[in-house]
Amino acid sequence: MGILIITESFIYEKKGAELAIIFNDVTKIYDSKIALQNFSMRVNPGEIVGLLGPNGSGKTTALRIAVGLLKPSKGDVIIMGHSITHNPEEAKKYIGYVPDEPPLYENLAGIEYLQLILELWGYDIADKMNEIDELARILDMQLELNDLISSYSAGMRRKIALMAALIHDPKVLIIDEITANLDPKALASLAILLRGLKEHNVAILISTHILEIAEELSDRVVILHAGEIIWTGNPKEFRKEVSESKRLEDIFFELTGGPEVEQIINYLRRYTK
């Protein structure tokens, strides 16, 4: 008779089958520096969650752990019911990830890079040509797809990374620094696209510095500071409940500290001398 060992992550895997992303008490320590501490959060299918926080607050660390690029020092992340640490190949099938600085092959053309990504996810590019074409039109990339990536601008690199994340139909979309290098048109297209994906039950986790973007796009916002969650909630509902004039920016500054106005004034004095 075999002995049944039920681990914590197994229980979460079973529980998390209906949830898209579960951060279960995740801690990440680099050498002796704590980057993320007891981070627990859930994202439902069809929900957009915005991760906010000042530089070095642990946003990118949290996202990198969720996609398997970093190993948690403690805890686990469950993606569509699969543990990213114990069953990474299965969990990653569902993820589309856009890093803030996409690593790309300079000597491949955009279309060849997409072919590589599709093949990694087990697709044949021949079956996806129409989707590539549509995405290229949305992101204004039709003319550049056959160019080598070495000639791409920072914005184009970001767009090809977005296409790569979307082309294999992810159930979970994770975007680090959503606004990075995107022009207003691309950003507006992306916002419409994300809302559409949300309607189709895709769970979306974004990180940003731009509070208006987070407020506009997210169903829920999580504010991180020094690796810990310090506030979470729906900014629109919060405004209705507390004060119509209170914006997300005010909450953010209250919690993490606002601009150093006095020091700025002091610095500017030298120009009046």
Binding site: L70, E89, N107, E119, L148
Partner: protein, 530 residues
Amino acid sequence: MIIRIILKYELKCFINYLNQKKSRIIGLIIGVLLELLFLVILFFVIPPVSVRNLIYGYRSIIADSLSTIGLFIAFFSVSGGASLVTTVRRGLRRQLEALLLAPTNPMSIFFVYLIIQSLIVSSIIIEILLPILIWILIAAGFSIITVGIFSLLLIFMIFAFSLIGAILGIAYIRFGVKRRMKLAIASMVFLALFYFMYFGALANNDMSSSTITIVLRVLASDVSPFKWIASPLYYELNRSWLYVIEFFLACGFLVIITYIPLKMIVNKYLEGKLRPPVERIEFTIRRGIIDFLFEQPLRGLIRKEIKIIKRDPNLLVSLLTPIIIGIVIIAAIAFSSQEPSYQMGRMMYMILLPILILASITPMTYIPVSVATEKERLAIYFASPIMIRDFLLAKFIVPYIFSLIYGISISCFLSIIIGSDFLMLLIVVFILVGVINITSGIGTVIAGKWINFKAPNPRKALTLEGSLVVFVTIFIISFIIPLTMILMIFLPTVIILSAIIVFVISFLIMLKLVDMGAENLKKLEITDYF
């Protein structure tokens, strides 16, 4: 002024780099001690004066030979300067752009920056070759002043040519993939011609010998800048005004070859003409042999590997160079005017054996470099649903198949040359495949365990342990193949049985080693390579 600032910060960067790891400081101390030991042995244990009587009579021959040595030093300096700039070009470009924001003459910034690159390249020549040259010249009885002036001129030449190399490296950045590949192929053709001539001359090929003689005569003639470099030595031998003029010609030549390319590169850089052209590819979906042989995702990974090799001159050159050298040496000897003889057969054996060894170690040296070039792009694979073993397998398969084809072809040729029978050939092939299996497996372990992904030059990304493993493996392999051939004569049955066992077991060892490499690679986190 700008020299002082840039040098100060370069020095700070170097000190910070050393301080990051104790092993780096220890390495530097060991390096300095070894250099001192080398100098002490060279100048005090075997003082130059002790052999003066032996070589004093050859003073003019020594002076003549310096023009040829000068050509080789120039060639080394140019290639060193170019490879330094091209392999770390992204960092260099960023640093240059940051410095160009400063309110200083861009020409001086370029100059100082390129001087630093030249210093790095020339340090190897100055540390090792220059002391030996000085030792020979003092031993030959040249005065200290003459040797001093010649050394200064030589150092200036090394600087000038490595600067040209660095400038060529910067210009290389603006080339598109197709042009870079053409340049790489042209370099390989040049190398092939060089080897053809050299081995043709060794095999008494009249055409090659006469060509080499003509080249040597031109190099040592009065119109050759490489002879001008040696003018202080000629002046001591024969106090003629011609050599004084040649000395100034040498100085003028070095100034001109430094200034003109520098001026050109600065202008082109500032005009924005050093950007690579936009290159477009014809994308078609084709089904090839890869689609029949491999499943997804291995199929996609191998397809990508082949595309990258075809467009990356560095990877292509490192894969093709052993083949080209092998074919050219065989061709040079085959086309020689002499009739094949027993001696010739022995010579071919001696030449082909190292090529065979080279073929067997190519995957071991290629796989880690290929993995190291991925750097931050490893994130693509770590974020995808593939097994890291597949990623490593794709890196392994291309050089592995390549080495098998190459090694087996050379073995067949070797077997014909030495007139061995089919059984002997079969044994050599069995042993060779066994060796390639194991070395390829070791290559994947090194790639997974002993690579510093943050090293600016992927070719030098191997850690100390990795380099040691490569060194020890090459050392062992260098004995296995020839030893097998010798033992085959005395203990044929034992060798036949061992070859079969090695052949079978090596496949299992290879797969185990690939698994080990993948297990190690899996442990990486993005902070290790980004």
